[in-house]
Symmetry: C2
Subunit: 304 residues, 2 copies
């Protein structure tokens, strides 16, 4: 039997498959070193998803996980995480074995498209496949190291970036869904809850951000974006409600200066609300871990 | 010379090219019937882009253009225009010659992915190429008819949807860029300005939305998302500044009930600011038309 040598087209196609498989292995090896992978999703833009991610990272790092928290800014066309964590103008170092994340406050490791752009004005005019490729590279070629937590900040919507993140990262601990209370926002966030379910990831819960504003002069509370929308969706969709974060101008100022508000204004009602949300997320994750351990224990006992 | 008949693969490929060219012709014919095509873009999400689009449509329709204004909601994964214009639960009618837009207030013709989804919870889990295909179909297969204005509301970012809209629509009159005043937002909006320039479309100007909040009880103004960011970008990037719209809880309420605030609360400072912005946009467009006419006139005179 004669063995036909592959044509050039066949060889290119085989090489591509082999490269993709090698990247899959690197991605899995890299992600296996990280204990908990948490995705922050919203559906609608401008609801404070990146603010929640940045503050969650700082909260975790300040609770016995310093130097063991990473943040992947998966918003390729509109990256804002570096600004919020005060690590702008940094560059990713490329070493022999791969790219090294930038180091933020409390040793938080940050990777963002922002680090690869020559200036603020430079747009990333990329269609979906290219954005997905960038995210897969950030997951597979970056030396994240041994981490307790990786937080992934997604851009709005349920398109390429969200799909790639959800399909590429193995064993996602859960998805935090952020919304503002308005009805218009609820419409889009419901889609995000269904999306998460369809991709078989657990919903850690819904955060209602920008919930009510207290006038700093007279103390009157105004529901600028209405109120209660997050809780309503959580009830309707049967997922946990994590809490409300009041609208506070200091949150925006802190994001602009790159000093997360739970550090900078740790006594503010928003910071107090945020810490309660973090505690709920931790409880769920630890509960799941305990559950898994019990299950493993039970399985190993049955095997005896 | 013998003529080789095409292989099956070659035939499929030829058919695809022919179909694409036929769609291009339909798209051009459809767009040529619309006098002014305006794109509303932001870069960052949640800055009120759809609110601006919906209110701009109503403002134009109420100024001698009733029944001659269309809105394309190009946010495929997070459509909110139908909710804001009070035309939810409608369906697109498919006639013999194509799809018919839904009819909103003042005869505004609306096309949105929302009309094609079975429920609010249904996510559109589509990668870029599919989203682009949907937008091209909305532009080419919908019987928009003879319109004075088509407003295109883009999702956040400079990815597939934005690229497809900017590359598919011929003779875009201009792009309105919406931002909130924060520095974090400015970072992303600068990219949107560069994006527009790279795609050779004129920037009509920048709108600063959610600019300052006046306490309804004591009248104290608080800059919740800081202030002046829109004007700053406009100056830095050398594009027109269209104006500031103050944050007003009634805008959010009106969006939720589907009654645009410039109608529902026409005396509010936000509505007054908005009407000034519309006037500036109209002046620029009419100035360009006059400029073009003068130029044509000059050209035809030179040709004499």
């Amino acid at each position: 039997m004669s063995v036909r040598s592959p044509t050039e087209t066949e060889q290119v196609s085989r090489d591509r498959v082999a490269e993709r498989e090698a990247q899959d292995r690197r991605l899995k090896a890299s992600m296996d070193k990280i204990k908990q992978k948490i995705v922050v999703l919203s559906g609608k833009g401008g609801v404070g998803k990146s603010t929640v991610t940045a503050n969650l990272a700082v909260a975790l790092a300040s609770q016995d996980h310093a130097g063991r928290v990473g943040v992947l800014d998966a918003d390729i066309t509109g990256p804002t995480i570096p600004k919020m964590l005060g690590v702008r103008r940094l560059r990713l170092d490329v070493g022999e074995r791969g790219m090294l994340p930038a180091r933020g406050p409390l040793g938080i490791r940050v990777v963002s498209m922002d680090f690869l752009l020559p200036s603020d004005e430079t747009p990333v005019i990329w269609r979906g496949p290219l954005k997905s490729m960038a995210i897969r590279q950030f997951l597979s070629e970056v030396l994240w190291g041994d981490l307790d937590f990786l937080l992934v900040d997604l851009p709005p919507g349920t398109g390429d970036e969200a799909l790639t993140v959800m399909q590429s990262i193995p064993n996602i601990a859960g998805v935090v869904i952020v919304t503002i209370p308005s009805e218009v926002s609820q419409l889009v966030v419901k889609k995000a809850v269904t999306f998460t379910g369809q991709l078989k990831a657990p919903v850690l819960g819904i955060v209602e951000n920008m919930s009510g504003f207290v006038c700093p002069k007279c103390g009157t509370e105004t529901s600028i974006f209405t109120t209660g929308g997050g809780q309503k969706i959580a009830e309707e969709m049967g997922v946990p409600f994590l809490g409300k974060i009041p609208l506070d101008p200091r949150i925006c100022e802190d994001s602009d200066t790159g000093t997360p508000f739970i550090v900078q204004h740790s006594d503010s009602p928003s910071a107090v609300a945020f810490r309660e949300i973090v505690a709920k997320i931790m409880k769920t994750i630890e509960g799941k871990e305990a559950g898994m351990l019990t299950q493993e224990h039970a399985t190993s006992r049955r095997d005896d």
